[in-house]
């Protein structure tokens, strides 16, 4: 295969080009859209009206920066959770309280590219508590609370550039990791202002271990491990016998810095990096390593004050593997590995070289033996490189083209996605034998088996998250919907059951039984526990107050009126802060708040919560405000007025709600 040919041009051109090549390879030929869907597929995905899906599927929004939640097997979309990107629907990133969640050392960053959802685990199994997701562009990791389906915590990753190899978890979510995609020069300004051509000399990689507090979900960086300059791609923690180790795929061991598709694809093998994280943890506890510059923000949502809190750290603890033998090893892995997946037993590590035509499977036992007997083939940047043959369990021969990512069922089988040959291949991990293959429509990226990267996969389905949509749905102009496909893996043969469109790029996803999540749901916030500095606990506490140019309104909502709903005495030049407390104490009764001319968004205030909208009136007159979320038969009556007078006006500041005292 000519690699450079394969990887030139766009993905579409690439797929088309490969199609021709594939005709000569038996079993790799993509079939047409008319591939068989058996007659009972519909019954297998039908979820009766009023009943619930069996699984939650947390699907990344890719370059939307969000996380989407679907039900399986129906493929129904329930929610888009705003994470790294602002969301005018909920006011996330627009309300005064939520802005802090998106603050970084670069200021307020209202967008990111979110790739990999990762469910928190207990004893190596998803526990339904949190879902982590990475932000690639301005390196960050977010923690989404599955009790509220809201972003609870976001930490910025210093000394990183492109947080792609992230946020994979250890078996009890002691840590989630962040490996930098781009290596970059680090340190002070002078150390960073270097010629790009000095990559080999000056550019460094690193991987960070982030600790989420088990109670609060607040995140901090425990330590970073410095590495030679390469690109980190994906990673996974060991489990069972390999518990305590972490594996990172890396490419560009050529250390190229231009025309990467050619120059970073020269070597036959790149690496999977094995890190003894238990040793790193111990070294960090012993005070080893160096504090290096690494200013970063850690933002955390306080559910009592209904506000973001930010902690700013100036530096970070960094461990250099050259100072600590036994901490890090490289294992050669064919051709730019992407997936780096550990099977449920923890005995095997599957590398998916995205330019390779085979799948190498490494044995943890052999890795340990090779380390013990010093079976090295040299070093890379001062880090020992183990001999490929010494650590290899075996290779799956000719499985397909362009293996990307592998997940597992509970019966010893692996499911690997093949981007180039556009298919899922099922194979046996011990025997390394291909057992079945199904086409995907089209050009699958990641795939997901419920619990499929954990110790106990639930199996039942494999879901393909595709990169190309082409003709699968009604067209919608130049940009087509994104697409996923659900396959049954209950029988010997995989069976296509359902196509479902997705919102945002479905880069990667994880799924778990709904029963692990449903009992955690927060129905409303207790008004008695609301510690927002501007809460109004009841209409008696509503008021309006001038603080110089700032006008603060303590406002409440309940079906179906605002208090106050008439405000006078606001002047041009004022900044008005509406602090809206929703007095409702029942599930599913948010109220919205919008005011004409607001330059940001609406507020969507959950029961018992307080949120603040800043509004700067620009003209004299009467300005309407209203509830946006249909709340009762009298929702359309849920409205009010603000009178804005010229600067210097003598209209006194006043706020009220008038009742006509209807008789009952």
């Amino acid at each position: 295969m000519n690699r450079t040919l394969l990887y030139s041009g766009t993905s579409v051109a690439l797929a088309a080009g490969v199609f021709l090549l594939l005709n000569s390879l038996p079993g790799c030929k993509p079939t047409t859209t008319k591939a068989a869907v058996t007659g009972d597929a519909a019954t297998k995905v039908y979820v009766k009206p009023g009943t619930h899906d069996e699984f939650y599927n947390f699907v990344s929004g890719g370059f939307s920066g969000q996380l989407a939640v679907y039900g399986l097997p129906s493929g129904r979309l329930f929610r888009e959770i705003p994470v790294f990107s602002v969301d005018p629907e909920s006011g996330y990133g627009y309300s005064e309280e939520t802005k802090g969640m998106l603050m970084t050392t670069y200021g307020f960053i209202p967008w990111d590219d979110s790739h990999h959802p990762e469910l928190s685990q207990s004893s190596g199994v998803p526990d339904g508590k949190w879902c982590f997701i990475n932000g690639n562009n301005t390196p960050r990791i977010a923690l989404v609370d599955l009790g509220t389906f809201r972003t609870k915590s976001i930490i910025e990753i210093p000394n990183s550039a492109g947080n792609h190899s992230s946020p994979f978890t250890t078996g009890n979510s002691e840590y989630v990791v962040a490996g930098t995609r781009f290596s970059v020069p680090m340190g002070d300004d002078a150390s960073r202002d270097v010629p790009i051509k000095s990559y080999k000399e000056n550019f460094k990689g690193n991987v960070s271990f982030i600790h989420p507090d088990p109670e609060t979900g607040r995140m901090s960086i425990a330590f970073q491990i410095a590495t030679p300059g390469v690109n980190f791609d994906l990673s996974h923690a060991g489990k069972g016998p390999s518990e305590g180790w972490f594996f990172f795929s890396c490419y560009n061991t050529e250390q190229a810095y231009s025309l990467m598709e050619v120059n970073a694809s020269q070597r036959d093998k790149d690496f999977i990096m094995a890190v003894n994280w238990k040793l790193a943890e111990q070294l960090a506890k012993e005070g080893k390593g160096n504090k290096v510059p690494g200013k970063h923000y850690s933002n955390w949502w306080n559910e009592e004050t209904h506000s973001a809190e930010t902690t700013v750290y100036e530096d970070v603890l960094q461990l250099d593997p050259k100072d600590h033998p036994g901490l890090v090893y490289f294992m050669p892995c064919p051709k730019s590995p992407h997936g780096c997946d550990v099977d449920p037993t923890g005995k095997y590590i599957v590398g998916s070289g995205k330019l390779a035509a085979l799948i190498p499977v490494f044995s943890f036992e052999k890795i340990q033996k090779a380390i013990a007997t010093n079976e090295m083939e040299g070093d890379f940047g001062g880090i020992p490189v183990l001999k490929y043959e010494s650590v290899l369990h075996g290779e799956v021969k000719k499985p397909g083209l362009g293996p990307l990512h592998t997940e597992f069922d509970a019966n010893g089988n692996a499911y690997t996605s093949f981007f180039v040959s556009s298919e899922i291949v099922k194979w046996n991990v011990e025997k390394l034998e291909v057992m079945d293959r199904v086409p995907t429509y089209y050009s699958i990226g990641h795939l997901c088996v419920p619990g499929g990267d954990s110790k106990q996969p639930w199996g039942k389905y494999v879901i393909a998250y595709n990169k190309i949509t082409k003709d699968r749905y009604l067209p919608t102009g130049p940009e087509l919907t994104q697409s996923a496909q659900l396959y049954s893996i209950e029988g010997d043969k995989m069976e296509l059951l359902l196509d479902f469109p997705t919102t945002g790029e479905p880069h990667y996803a994880q799924a778990l039984p709904a029963e692990l999540v449903k009992p955690r749901e927060v129905k409303f916030f207790k008004i008695d526990e609301n510690k927002h500095p501007f809460v109004a606990k009841g209409e008696k506490e509503t008021k309006v107050e001038r603080r110089g140019k700032e006008v603060h309104v303590w406002m409440t909502t309940i079906r179906s009126h605002f208090a106050p709903d008439n405000i006078e005495g606001v002047k041009l030049g004022d900044e008005v802060y509406f602090h809206v407390t929703n007095l409702e104490q029942d599930w599913d009764v948010p109220h919205g708040f919008a005011i004409k001319g607001a330059a940001n968004a609406e507020l969507l205030v959950m029961p018992g919560e307080t949120q603040t909208l800043k509004w700067i009136p620009t003209r004299v007159g009467i300005w309407p405000m209203y509830c946006t979320d249909f709340c009762s038969a009298l929702h359309q009556e849920m409205q009010g007025y603000v009178r804005v007078s010229p600067a210097g006006s003598s209209v006194p500041l006043d706020a009220y709600t008038v009742s006509v005292d209807a008789e009952m």
């Binding site: 008004i527 606990k537 009841g538 009126h561 009298l634 209807a662």
Partner: protein, 156 residues
Amino acid sequence: MTTIWKTSIAIVLVGSLLACGGGDKPSQPPGASAGAQSPEAGTSVQSPKVEGLITAADLQLGEVDAAMAEKGKITYDVKCQACHSTGANRVVGPGWKGLVTKREPAWIMNMIMNIDVMLESDPEAQKLLEECLVRMPNQNLSKDEAREVLEFMRTL
């Protein structure tokens, strides 16, 4: 918004359409059990027997307990006052002055704690919805809090 709201809209619409149809009696909203009579306003009625509802036997009302009523007032200010006055006038829902003489204590407790069941099964609750047009919010009071609110009502 969920089906709860759609249900409430349906009730309201159907209720008002029928009312506008020129009937001289309040029409029976859907969901009311067949044969349920809509009693005269102001009379005290027993809720139909529905499992889980609070009954008169569950409540022991003696002399008004001032300390309890005071706690009830605190809850009222936060969770009830937006819609109920302490006078006889209606704001969104009925005023509370003299309410305990018009309604059974258990009925009041159920309106606070079991509003969904009441709107499904109780003709008086359904009649109130026709008049007020807003489903009474479930403010998720505990039984003790609801009892304290009832005690506060007894002082009015």
